[in-house]
Subunit: 233 residues, 2 copies
DNA sequence: CGAGTATAGAGAGCACCGCTCTTGACAGTG
DNA sequence: CACTGTCAAGAGCGGTGCTCTCTATACTCG
């Protein structure tokens, strides 16, 4: 009886996965706007209404894709950070990994870091995976334990940074944490600009510009320069 | 006969304007995705097919709105830069003006700096207005004539910067120009993160964070600190 | 001034969309 | 075997962008 029940559930899990796969395919081909339940169903050889047994609405399907994207990007970032030793090398690896993922999955990147889908409110479930990259970034900085930068932090900003540090268990100078926050927005700003074509007239292709900026961000945070081989990359 | 001809054309221009106005209203209320030709026509008391005499497609209407948005933001930026004297004050004013416009017109901002509409290719006509903000930014930096930062620029990046400088008539050290480019992406990255809710768990409200970052960017580029009153803002 | 023409909006219609409700088939259970 | 819960299917609703045809009207010119 347990086996039979599992059989049904297996079929269900299988189809759920296939739906998501097909949806991701369409997402990659034509973007989130054009993602249509009917088209997904058509491609899967089923009728549109049947899809609603798996995802109660188009937005719910989108949410599933969003969570998957956050998780995939987060995992990429964590793996890159774990693969290097030196703080600056880890920083570089992480930044380039994030960019690499974004370039490889532009539509999924746009889904999570582009303009939010109007009327769509990101559910609670997306918050945790959304924080993974930022956490990985902050972790790299913390492990490098750079010195206090001496910035004068406005009261409210210091309080916000304190809360972040407490919530994430990040034991580091608040000035460094705030600078890491700045670098965080810089990283995604640059990637977004590249992906969305705003660099076309200036720094496109953006490889060298990206590499340059990553180094300046590392300087900005106070990560030590690499000891031996000083590949500027 | 010229007057009569003008009469017809006037009516046409009037309606064109009204269509754009109504479209902008809907854009501001519900975002680009929900912008519907039928709804615009309904609100204007005409039939949907009649709209096609004014804009051949929904995308063309969107293009008109995009150009308007770029122009509005560019004008805001230019005005802010012109209203101050000291380089750092001009820099501050410009950055805060851009952010202010973005916060006041989130959907229009998302339209131009969010994920591009899939399948939609920005026509040539958008390029020039799109560059206005960047040009205003670069102008402020050039007028401050900060010294060469001494960065080692990779070959390709230096070439790209040289082309930009030549095309825009910006006579300044390439290292400074590249750093201004970095700050440019930083500025929009931060604004985008704030608008799209990515700062919610960390630096939200973002006023102080934004102010802090603007100052660090000014430092980064090499803009001199304000002489007398050193309001950190 | 009157005939002809260009331009305007109206309306029907096509193919698609998200989503709902009902119906009939089927598997698993007592 | 009868029952129950799950599933896909189908029809249908109101909406979308867009096209086509038709008619009324404003303008132009002989």
């Amino acid at each position: 009886m347990n086996a039979s029940r599992t059989a049904r559930e297996r079929a269900r899990a299988e189809l759920t996965r296939e739906i998501k796969e097909e949806a991701r395919r369409q997402l990659a081909e034509q973007g989130a706007q054009k993602l249509s339940l009917r088209a997904v169903a058509r491609e899967l050889g089923m009728v549109s209404s049947a899809l609603y047994r798996y995802y109660p609405s188009r937005d719910d399907l989108l949410t599933a894709l969003i969570i998957d994207a956050y998780d995939a990007l987060g995992e990429t970032a964590e793996a890159a950070a774990a693969a290097a030793e030196e703080p600056r090398a880890r920083w570089r690896a992480l930044c380039h990994a994030v960019r690499g993922w974004a370039v490889a999955h532009p539509h999924e990147y746009a889904l999570i870091y582009g303009s939010p889908v109007p009327g769509y409110q990101a559910p609670r479930a997306t918050i945790e995976p959304a924080g993974r990259v930022a956490l990985a970034l902050a972790g790299v900085v913390r492990d490098a334990s750079p010195p206090d930068t001496g910035d004068e932090l406005p009261e409210g900003l210091a309080a916000q940074a304190g809360q972040v540090a407490a919530a994430a268990g990040l034991d580091m100078p608040l000035t460094v944490l705030v600078r890491a926050l700045v670098a965080w927005t810089q990283l995604f700003g640059m990637i977004g600009f590249e992906l969305f074509g705003h660099l076309v007239g200036s720094a496109d292709p953006a490889d060298e510009f990206f590499g340059f900026t990553v180094e300046r961000m590392a300087d900005f945070i106070g990560l030590p320069a690499l000891p031996a081989s000083r590949t500027v990359r």
